[in-house]
């Protein structure tokens, strides 16, 4: 149930799948999902691997948008690599420590800092899912690894209102009935407000970044990557759980309202580790854990 599924419909479907699984387990002693062969009885047919990367540090820096300009940005909360600042480049990341499980992920991830009553709040649970979904199954089967050094920015930090381009969502952990929203939601006491953000997964095959930091990547159209961005890579889904609930009037992000949620990703997975996970988890549609093995 803790899988990377943001919307209530998906949740419902998951609940049904889980129920079915439990029933099958009772009946046959197997957890068979879809048409898994008996030999693969415990394999879950979801194309996924993940990294859990707790909070590392805060700085008003952004090495993608404001490289070389410390103090030029609104406040960011960093996850993964522990040294990221305005000057960070790929070799800095490759030599950095990380907060991630697995430790091989020395990528840097950052988001605008979340404030409740003007006090910074850092997420208690930070998970980055890498998924083979959103494109047709034949495209998933041909997913390419995220290239080393790739930079991706998702979400619209400059949004002035929630609109059709808002792709971040807020919801409540353990309170699915509240539903997902483009802006902060009022979560029942004892639950956590959570943010979901999917990154674009179609790469132009050439550039590790672009002048506007967006145009080298694209979202799929009709379950396929557009011809301008033909290379399907794993879809990064950022899931942050903040240990706060209640009236969202108390909440803001360093970039503004809830719909300005955005995420920055600087890929520093060692190429062999990324490749292994794409080959063993994404392409064959197998749910893997942080170690990149079936979970």
């Amino acid at each position: 149930m803790e899988r990377a599924a943001p919307f209530s419909t998906l949740r419902r479907r998951l609940r049904i799948v889980t129920l079915l699984g439990a029933l099958l387990a009772l009946l046959g002693g197997y957890t068979v999902i879809e048409r898994a062969a008996p030999a693969e009885a415990r394999i879950v047919r979801v194309a996924e691997f993940l990294a859990d990367c707790p909070y590392s540090h805060r700085l008003p820096d952004d090495p993608i948008i404001f490289p070389g300009l410390p103090g030029a940005s609104h406040m960011h909360s960093f996850f993964g690599a522990t040294t990221t600042n305005a000057y960070t480049n790929l070799s800095d990341l490759l030599n950095s420590n990380t907060t991630c499980n697995p430790r091989v992920d020395v990528s840097s991830y950052w988001v605008p800092t979340f404030y409740a009553d003007n006090v910074p709040v850092e997420p208690a649970i930070v998970t980055f899912y890498y998924l083979g979904e959103g494109v047709r199954s034949d495209i998933v089967a041909n997913t390419q690894p995220l290239p080393l050094g790739l930079r991706i920015v998702a979400g619209n930090a400059r949004a002035t209102a929630p609109d059709s381009t808002t792709n971040s969502r807020w919801s409540c952990l353990h309170a699915g009935h509240v539903g997902a929203s483009k802006d902060f939601v009022n979560c029942p006491s004892g639950t956590m407000i959570e943010s979901y953000l999917d990154f674009p997964q179609c790469w132009n095959g050439r550039d590790l970044d672009s002048p506007d930091h967006k145009s080298h990547m694209a979202y799929p159209v009709n379950q396929a990557c557009p011809s301008s961005h033909p290379v399907a890579v794993p879809k990064l889904r950022q899931v942050l759980r903040y240990p706060v609930s209640g009236n969202p009037a108390r909440f803001r992000l360093a970039s503004g309202a809830g719909f300005t949620m955005h995420g920055d990703f600087f890929n520093a997975w060692p190429e062999a580790e990324m490749m292994r996970r794409v080959r063993d988890c994404i392409r064959p549609v197998i749910k893997c854990g942080a170690d990149g093995r079936p979970s």
Binding site: P67, L69, S91, A159, L208
Partner: protein, 203 residues
């Protein structure tokens, strides 16, 4: 002799040395250039449809120009409020000087940004950015009585100038385009001079 332990350690050291060497490779690059350069100039061609920025501009130049345009656009309405909100001659004179300088610097920044070919999007729209007066603060200023106005104005102008000097100094260190780093030098210098005047006016 422990060859089995020694070889991996040597190999690891070699990897580190190679990585460090690769990063520092271009002797011409200033600190920070490796960070900025790939964004526009290095590694690969710019995407189709994006104006080429393959000139001497690096990522720091472009980020700083975009930021400088945004900061100057934001401070001008603050400066333009002064004549109608206060009769104090020294404050009016300083505001007029900073306004004229800001207009010139804004114009130079825009022209350099044009030459860089970078997108003119303002990455800071609606943000709670250091040194930038917010729309709500401007509204409050527009209604404040003279003494209160001068106090708030001094605070906002100081925040703007301090942030301008901070990022201009970083651009001087990490930028690549000579015209852009020269402009950064000018902005840092005038910013410091205005800060000194402001301190004399409002210690």
């Amino acid at each position: 002799m422990r060859p089995t332990a020694g070889i991996p350690a040597t190999a690891a050291l070699l990897v580190v040395v190679l990585l460090a060497g690769g990063c520092a490779a271009p002797p011409a690059s200033a600190p920070g250039t490796p960070t900025g350069a790939p964004a526009v100039a290095g590694q690969s061609a710019t995407p189709a449809g994006t104006p080429s920025a393959s000139g001497p501009f690096n990522g720091t130049d472009i980020a700083w120009l975009q930021l400088t345009v945004a900061m100057h656009e934001r401070v001008l309405p603050l400066l333009e409020l002064v004549p109608e909100r206060t009769a104090q001659p020294d404050v009016r004179r300083l505001a007029a000087q900073v306004r004229d300088t800001s207009r010139t610097e804004l114009d130079r920044s825009r022209r350099l940004l044009d030459r860089s070919g970078a997108p003119k999007t303002n990455p800071h729209e609606g943000h709670d950015m250091p040194g930038m007066v917010t729309a709500a603060e401007l509204t409050a200023l527009g209604a404040a009585p003279d003494a209160e106005f001068r106090r708030l104005f001094g605070r906002h102008l100081r925040a703007h100038l301090e942030q301008s000097v901070r990022v201009a100094s970083a651009e001087q260190r990490s930028g690549a385009d000579p015209d852009t780093t020269t402009l950064a030098g000018t902005i840092a210098r005038t910013g410091n001079a205005y800060l000194a005047e402001l301190t004399e006016l409002q210690p």
